[in-house]
Subunit: 392 residues, 2 copies
């Protein structure tokens, strides 16, 4: 049977994070490994009411097949929000509702990538994007990111040697590293790409979750014709419904809709209608403000505990938002070895390795701070600090 | 920009059916063109209650990220139903919940097809399957189907010349033709495939909608290790939620789950929980019986009107279930020309052309009978008969 499979699926290794998450089911383990939003903030009662009301108002219509582009009301809400928050004028026709923003990545791979095409990815980079694009067998060109943004010298080298079709970036509070691109860095990246045929995919699942600092400029302002935006309600409302979106100009949208029809015809229409009713009847910004207050406190608790419990020589990012921070151990230290040691002390994280396209080990790790309360974070970081010290 | 796209997406023409459906928005047109289940049978109140109850019982849990395989309770319901209805013992681990069965097709393409791989498709065949598989650029080998099933002589020829990886079939009340495979035909197809590495994909969205005749044997009985089953709640409960499933043995399932994660992580978990609550609290078989009674009457009305109003020399299928029947005009007659003429008489259908992988025109057409009441069907068929006579 093995040789019956496609090359693309045969090449993909079993998900490392999946295996890790199995270990963390043990409830005595404090886990910073997950990537989940905190369920305490899911608007259960408000969504229950929205579901009831939308059945009451719209009846059978919300249960029928719907169009591939998505519910117009929801797309209008997204367009209005771009105008209000970022001063971007996005026509509703340029918005496609996707089955989570993960599907946005798959549709972009389907629409753009031939085998061997060049694609720029951040290093470290978002694992879900690596997995989605890998199915179309591109050649990955990792470009380092760190506090402040992308390494523009490294980007310039790739652009001088190759003709990448796509550049994938999470510019705000990136998963896994928590780093954000400064305005200057965004302008420098845009300057390098201007005139090339490379399309920027700006994925922004965490952009609304900002604790400090100020909103940065969108690539859609800097390179409007060459930018595709991805967004998601998973971190601001709830992930179960798989509701994300994609913004692209008409020429690209025509192709994306064909790919969407071939992939799942359309995104759950009942879910779109429930979410839209919720958004009309509730104050999303007030809801997000409550999430930010708590996540911000949890991040501060984690940063404080790191200062208290980690030995000298361990570096970490200090994100202005989002759900993750990134730890760099001294050169040559194995985060895989640390993982084994940490599990024995009942604390878990994700070693950095899967966030690189070409490494077997690394001296980096990802810590999630959205899902644990402050005392748990302090205790977990204390345990992790002990594990690091024992390893040295 | 055009040369930036992938080869797969550049090759796919704009959906013909989409264009047709735009024409039929005119409410004075009687449309047999759609492929929708009848919304009169959507269980609006029962799903509204199921949604309310599941929020009440399970709270935040139903709004969190969930596993890629799907909700265990829903998979257990599907396994139990296979046992009860078909005497099939399917382990729940062999069941994957998909974002509509359209996604099942995409995941199979992703998991099995390299460019140029051989794939057997029915002729005429399901358009959604042709679209999904076309994204992976296989070589299509159409094998004719007609009343009673697949042309086994033609199938034998393909199998002697090529080594197809997949055979895609809709064995019950096929879309577009309404034909079903007899037990003898299924056995003959299985005999031809036995010992080959070709996998049968048995897609059965309409199997529960049987008006007459008796249930036929599943390929899962005949070739258990080489059969993948696809199923859907779209025609029995409602399509908006995009809930389908796929049954495959463990070795294949491992790969499909990787493809699923890359495609959309998991199917809407809230929708899975709502549907599961609905299925636990309601009698699905009684609900389906009501649908069958009405669809059966509508099919009879269509067959009767065809006999009354169509000229001699026009052939048609007489399906034992499902939503469609298939009309064959005399050799050389253009169903595209008939479409133009019929629209002027305010009646629409889908010309057969898009259901073949390699034709520009055809003498066949698909008629949907699930969405129009009996008087409307009679009037529409009268208008269509007039259009056919005018064309001769």
């Amino acid at each position: 049977m093995e040789n019956a499979f496609s090359d693309r699926i045969t090449d993909v290794p079993k998900s490392f994070i999946r295996e890790i998450l199995k270990v963390t089911i043990d409830s005595s383990i404090i886990s910073f490994a997950g990537g989940l939003p905190n369920r305490l903030f899911f608007p259960v009662k408000a969504l229950q009411k929205a579901a009831f009301d939308v059945f009451e108002e719209a009846g059978a219509e919300i249960l029928q097949y719907a169009n591939s582009e998505g519910y117009l009301g929801l797309r209008q809400f997204i367009a209005d929000r771009y105008r209000k928050q970022e001063g971007l004028e996005i026509p509703v026709e340029d918005i496609l509702i996707t089955t989570g923003s993960q599907q946005g990545l798959d549709l972009l791979g389907k629409t753009f990538l031939n085998e061997g095409d060049d694609l720029i990815i951040e290093e470290p980079g978002y694992l879900g994007a690596i997995q989605a694009f890998a199915m179309y067998r591109p050649r990955f060109h990792p470009v380092p990111v760190s506090e402040g943004g992308m390494d523009t010298a490294a980007l310039g080298r790739v652009l001088s040697e190759r003709q990448p079709k796509l550049l994938y970036t999470v510019t705000n509070f990136q998963n896994p590293s928590g780093v954000s691109y400064s305005d200057d860095n965004r302008r420098a990246v845009a300057d390098l790409l201007r005139g090339s045929s490379c399309l920027i995919i700006q994925d922004d699942p965490y952009g609304d979750l900002r604790f400090s600092g100020s909103r940065k400029i969108s690539f859609k302002h800097l390179l409007p014709a060459n930018t595709v935006l991805l967004g998601s309600f998973s971190k601001t409302v709830a992930p179960a419904m798989r509701l994300g979106w994609l913004v692209a100009p008409p020429l690209i949208m025509d192709k994306l809709v064909i790919a969407k029809q071939a992939s799942d015809l359309h995104t759950d229409y009942l879910a779109q209608r429930i979410l839209h009713r919720y958004l009309c009847d509730n104050d999303l910004d007030a809801h997000i403000a409550a999430i930010i207050r708590q996540y911000g406190k949890q991040k501060e608790a984690m940063i404080g505990a790191i200062k208290d419990f980690f030995p000298a020589g361990v570096q970490h990012t200090n994100p202005e938002g989002g759900m993750f921070l990134w730890v760099t151990l001294p050169e040559g230290t194995s985060s895989m070895a640390l993982f084994e040691a940490a599990i024995k002390k009942k604390v878990a994280f994700v070693p950095g390795t899967p966030f690189y396209v070409d490494r077997k080990d690394s001296n980096t790790l990802r810590l999630n701070f959205s899902c644990s309360d402050e005392p748990t974070i302090v205790e977990g970081i204390r345990r992790l600090g002990d594990s690091i010290k024992a390893l040295f």
